[in-house]
Symmetry: C2
Subunit: 345 residues, 2 copies
DNA sequence: TTGTACGCGTTATCAA
DNA sequence: TTGATAACGCGTACAA
């Protein structure tokens, strides 16, 4: 069943049917009714491919995400897809992994599908060596490219991010001002946002006139599924003579590993050890004591990213860079400034 | 840049260019080289819309998933997308939510996009009243429909699932045979697979000739993010006089809530309370003691689902129903049959 | 081995 | 207000 069939059955031309389909108002009401009733009776739907060919768009956007089973990225994808569909776009999802070559391939695939826009979820797509970002710049010359939690200054690239540096700084300052002198910083990635977090950690010490001891900045080289591994990693650091009375982590799973270490070694939280995670994920509430964590307002970021995306596709002028703040959520692994020290369970 | 431009630059016809593009072997090698070099020099890519219009396919499949931020569903989407892309298909993802109407809308959208196949991830799409499943049957008359962890017998519908009933039965039997007399069963959904799990729980009692006390089957009416809520829920049950020495849950987060309850009330695990979760998610390792859980082999399920999907699309005859078994993973919240009772930490 | 010409189902332009 | 028709870019009979 195509537009010709409908036009014949309705006794009009295909042009008129097309006008009815697309809601043009220069159609006599009685004609419109006739056409609509025929379409309804036949259960007719316009062919999306033909429409795509003519209009050179199928109202689709490509989402690139290294690993959609990562809790944080999965949430981002969920929010983005929802808002985009509300806006009349559908999403082609690609889980690219963390290797540049497969990321490139995924982008080529999306471009070959003629998506209207490409969204990069997370900062793993940005290379420290800028010439390796050419694949992104090239894409941006064809379609708008949206970056979530990453930053790249270039025509056609739009960034929406949380100020991870400042948020981490705030968290670190909280620990310092709570009297913690030895704050272990755990991280597991060298991505753009990971670097910003490390920067925030260091800057907090500067602000307080303290020299930052680099031995306290530790890279966990393992899977985000391996909490046991984190626990052992922290344990090893202790055994090697590193003393710490607080742990700040670039991801909740690292912080949970630190809590596990404390529990197993009879270290009381938060009195002897204070712990802060990042992302404010469900992991924060499945451990005891529950984990304080930095919330980087993912839903807000995603809503704005899609707003800017759709605005751009509609021809509106949109900001190239949009930055939101993060927020430290106090639970049971930190001493809240409003509480007295002894009141924490 | 289109096929006409390439044909002119290469001094051949569009038919020859098309033959080169599609790898036909009836092209003189020198001609092929010429065409390929022109295409490469121009960075030419065939227009996917035009191709789609002619061939009536763009090699895409639609994935419907109630909530891709749910850890379990997110993993499923991740595995499925990866395998499909390896097989030359790309995925249109729709996060439908749990309401039937929005699920219907999402399906209509996918069908209007002419996807080659639709994959329903999870059993929330199946209605208990079969006439409400007409939207699925209708879809299946147009394109193959794949069901993950659900079952529906109908032409064009292919199911891949874990035998949740048997897996739950095994877990329950383990608890019974470990001497647990009062096993609380927690669940939070009335979906197809949720019912199968409940069935498994009940059947275990029958197998041991014990009458199953319905008061021990409890529905948690809350979000899967609300572990605190689960903890309170379990606490309330206890306060109302329900005694239990084991908890079996239809999802890990429920089990983690039960562990939290035990920790807060000084109940020793697994001696005084044994706990088993479901899905073997990362939640199992972020609590102390670590949670025993049923692994329903999601990756295996997804791999097979995609294999059957691609086979079907290639015209091969594929099985309508494929069932795998689950496996109880012992960690620290159960007494492992191989250990002596006292050796558990 | 290669080329010609048409069909795929829309939308948009122009004329009536 | 409506209709005829050209484009969109590809694949593919069929002919050469």
């Amino acid at each position: 069943m195509n537009i010709y069939d409908i036009s014949k059955l309705a006794g009009v031309s295909t042009a008129t049917v097309s006008r009815v389909i697309n809601g043009f108002d220069n159609v006599k009401p009685s004609t419109r009714e006739k056409v609509l009733s025929v379409m309804a009776k036949q259960g007719y739907t316009p062919n999306a491919f033909a429409r795509g060919l003519g209009l050179n768009t199928m109202n689709s956007v490509g989402i690139m995400c290294a690993d959609s089973s990562d809790m944080y990225l999965a949430k981002a994808v969920y929010y983005i897809e929802g808002r985009l569909r509300e806006g009349g776009y559908h999403c082609i999802l690609t889980c690219t992994g963390y290797e540049r070559e497969s990321q490139r391939e995924a982008m080529d695939m999306l471009l070959s599908q003629h998506v209207d826009c490409i969204i990069l979820v997370g900062s793993t797509f940005i290379d420290k060596s800028d010439k390796n970002n050419k694949y992104i710049y090239d894409a941006a010359s064809t379609v708008p490219v949206m970056l979530l939690n990453a930053s790249l200054e270039h025509k056609g690239i739009y960034c929406v991010l949380c100020d991870d540096c400042h948020a981490t700084q705030t968290a670190t300052l909280h620990l310092i001002d709570d009297g913690r002198s030895d704050i272990l910083y755990l991280f597991n990635s060298y991505s753009y946002s990971a670097k910003k977090k490390a920067l925030g950690y260091r800057s907090a010490f500067e602000m307080r006139g303290i020299t930052c001891d680099e031995r306290y900045i530790q890279f966990f080289n393992g899977s985000s599924q391996d909490i046991e591994g984190v626990c052992n990693f922290v344990s090893d650091l202790k055994d090697k003579g590193l003393h710490f009375d607080a742990v700040l982590a670039s991801d909740d799973f690292l912080a949970v590993g630190a809590i596990k270490y404390a529990i197993r070694n009879g270290i009381t939280i938060p009195n002897e050890l204070s712990v802060i995670g990042y992302n404010n994920s469900i992991l924060t509430t499945c451990c005891e004591p529950e984990l304080s964590s930095v919330d980087n307002q993912l839903e807000l970021l995603c809503n704005n990213l899609v707003r800017i995306c759709i605005g751009t596709l509609s021809g509106e002028s949109m900001p190239r860079k949009t930055i939101f703040g993060g927020e430290l959520i106090h639970r049971k692994t930190t001493v809240h400034p409003d509480d007295s020290d002894s009141e924490n369970s």
